[in-house]
Symmetry: none
Subunit: 198 residues, 4 copies
DNA sequence: GATGAATGAGCGTTCATTCAT
DNA sequence: AATGAATGAACGCTCATTCAT
C-alpha cells in the first residue's frame, strides 16, 4: 500500500532527493488546491521536469495515491498511538477528533479522498482509520460514555464531514471546534431517541 | 443581489422565455453535477444557443449566481413559512434541518455555494437563511431546548456540515439521518462543557 | 460510413467552409505524412483553431476516418465506373490497377489504412474496393485472361503492396509501372505452377 | 559504412560485450516492432543503461544503422552463397526470393530500411544485395528464363514489394507465397508487352 | 566506462468565452 | 435578439537525448 523507499531497491541519492522533493511539493500543492492541480505545477514546485515526475510516478493517480497513502498512514499511526496512550475512553475519542481535525483536515486532497469512501469504491488508503475508530468506539461504549447504537461507520462519517467543515472555515480553529463539541456531546447522549436505522 | 427581470428593462416575450428555460435547465444540471458542469450542457438542455446563454448571463458565474439566488430565496421562504407555522420550538428547529437536508442538500451546487459562505467573500445570496435560523435559535433557546451558547452562526455551519454529509452518502437517507440525530442531540445538551470561543 | 454534409442538418456557410477546409488540409497532410501527423498541423493548415477542428471531428480518428472514407469512396466510385465502361476484361483489370496506383497510391494514409486490412480488424472503409475487384476478377477469369486460381483477395493484396511500392519510389512513375507490368503478366500466366494454397 | 570494432580503437572486453548485447537486443526488438521502438526497451533487453547505449551509439539512428548493416551483410552473404551453389539459374532466382522472404522479411526494421532505398538518400548498407541480384539476373537472362528487359533495379524493387507483402499478412506464409508465385511467373513471361521505360 | 535519472518539447484532447452569421 | 461555430490556453502523458553519479 505504501511505497516507502525502504521497500524497494535503494535509489540513487539524487533520485531519492527528487522523489522526496516531488512528494513534498505534491503534498503541499494537493493540500492547498486539492486533487485537481496541474501536474506541471507539482513538477515546477519540486524543481524537476515532467519526465522526472513521471518516471517516479507513472500516472498522476499514482502520485496522488502515494501522497495520500503517506498522509493516511501517518495520520492513522499518530491516532493509534494517541489512543493507546490515553486511558480515559472519552478523552481518547475526543482527542482523536481533535487531533485529526487539527492536523489533517487542512489537507484538501486528503479530505476529498476520505470523502470518496462513501461514494463509489473506497480508496483503500482511507481504510487505515477504521481499526482505530473501531477500537475507540468499543472502549467508549464499554465505558458508557458513547451512545450504544453508534457504529464505527457513524464515527468515520462524522470525521469526514467535520474534516470538510474545517476546510470550509479554513483556519478558524475556534469555529470548527464548536461544531466538534456539539457532535461529541451528541455522541454522549445516552437517553435520547434512538438513531434511525440505515 | 438578484438579477430578476423586474429590475431591468422588460425583455421581449421570447427572451423572457429563453431566460426562464436557461435558469430551469441550469438548476437541474447544477443540482445533478455541481458547479463544474460544462456550460454547453446547460445550453443544450435549455434548448438555446451559447450566444443566447451568454447574452443573458455574461459569465458562467453570473448564471450560477442567479440560479443559486433563486434556490436560496425559495429555500429560505419555505423554511420561514415552516418555522412560522410550527409552534413547538424544538420541532421547528428539527423540522428545519430535516426539511433542508431532505430537499436542498441534494442540490450539489447549492451545497457547494453554501459552503463557500465561510471561506472568502460570502456569496450573499446565502445570507437569506440567517434570519430564519436566528429566529429558530432564539425561540429554542428561550424554550430551553437549545444550549445557550450556540450562535446562529453555529447553526448555519452545522447546516453546511450536514448538507455535505448528505452529498457524501448520496441519497442514503438512513445514513445521514443518524448524523442529524447526533447533531440535534448535541444541540440539546444543556449541561455539557461550554462551546469553545471562536 | 461516409459523413457527407448532405446526410446531416446543413451547416452554416462558414462552418461548412471550415469543415471543408479541415478535410482538405487533413487530406493533404495525411497524404504527405501519413496518419502520424500532429493534429495541430492540420488545424494550422486549415486556418482554424484546435477547438474548431475538434468540434467537427471529436477525435483524431474521426477525422482520419472521414478523410479516408471520402478517399476510398471516390476511389471505388471511379474504379467502378471505369470497370463498367471498359468492355475488354483484361483492359478493365489493367486499367483498374493503373488508375488506382496513379491516383491513390500517393496518399500515405490511404495506403496505410488499406494495408491494415490484412493485419487486425479491417477498417471498413477499405471494403468498398472488394466488390469492384471481385467483378473484375470474375470477368477476367471467364474470359480466360486471368489464371483461374487467383482470388479476389489475391488481387486486393497485390493492390496494397503495389500501392506501397508507389510510395517507395515516390513519384517515379516509370519505375512502379514496370512492377505493375510484371505482376499483371504473372496474373495472366495460365499454364504455370498452381498458386500455393493459403 | 559499417562500424565494426575492427575499424576503431579496441574496446575493453566488457565494453565489447555490452556493445554486442546492445546489438543483439536491438536486432530482436527492431525485428519485432520496427524502427519506432522506444530506445528504453532496447536498453532494458540488453541489460545495459541508457548511457552505455548512447556511448556506443550516439543516436538512435546510429544504432539502427549498425544493426541494419549487420543484417544486410549477413543476408547478402547467405544469398551470395546460395546463388553460387545453385546451378539452375531459375532455381537460383526463385530460391533467392523464397529465402529472402522466409527469413528477412519478418524483420520489420530491415524491410522498412530496405524500402527507404528508393526514396531519399539510399542507406547504403542495402546496396550489398545489388551484386547478388545482378548476378542472378544475368544468369537467368542468359538462360532465357527471365524476360530480357528486366533490370537488377526491378528485381531489387520487387524484393521490397514482396517483403512488404510479408509484413502486411504477418506470418501467413500461404498468403504471400501466392504473391511470390505470381511475381515469379510474371518475370518469366518472355513474349508479353515490354516493360515501360523508367 | 557504466549507470539510469533528468529533461522538455510535443502529443491528443477539453471547455469558458467570443463573435460572425 | 438568437444562434452555434470558433478560439486557444491548459490538461495528462511520452520519449529521444543528456548528464550527474
Amino acid at each position: 500500500m505504501v511505497t516507502e523507499p525502504s521497500s524497494r531497491r535503494p535509489l540513487r541519492a539524487d533520485a531519492e532527493r527528487n522523489r522526496a522533493a516531488i512528494i513534498e511539493a505534491a503534498t503541499e500543492v494537493l493540500a492547498e488546491q486539492g486533487s485537481a492541480v496541474d501536474v506541471r505545477e507539482i513538477a515546477q514546485r519540486s524543481g524537476v521536469g515532467m519526465g522526472t515526475l513521471y518516471r517516479h510516478f507513472p500516472t498522476k493517480d499514482d502520485l496522488l495515491g502515494t501522497v495520500l497513502d503517506r498522509e493516511f498512514t501517518a495520520w492513522a499511526g499518530a491516532a493509534r498511538q494517541a489512543a493507546d496512550t490515553t486511558d480515559d475512553p472519552r478523552d481518547a475519542l475526543e482527542g482523536f477528533y481533535e487531533h485529526a481535525l487539527a492536523t489533517q483536515a487542512y489537507h484538501r486532497a486528503v479530505v476529498e479522498a476520505y470523502g470518496d469512501t462513501w461514494s463509489g469504491p473506497a480508496p483503500d488508503c482511507t481504510r487505515l482509520l477504521y481499526p482505530v475508530l473501531d477500537d475507540l468506539r468499543a472502549r467508549a461504549q464499554d465505558a458508557g460514555v458513547l451512545r450504544a447504537d453508534v457504529t464505527t461507520g457513524d464515527l468515520a462519517l462524522l470525521l469526514a464531514t467535520l474534516s470538510h467543515t474545517v476546510q470550509l472555515v479554513a483556519g478558524s480553529t475556534g469555529v470548527w471546534r464548536r461544531q466538534l463539541r456539539i457532535a461529541l456531546d451528541g455522541l454522549g447522549v445516552l437517553d435520547g431517541p434512538p438513531l434511525p436505522t440505515s
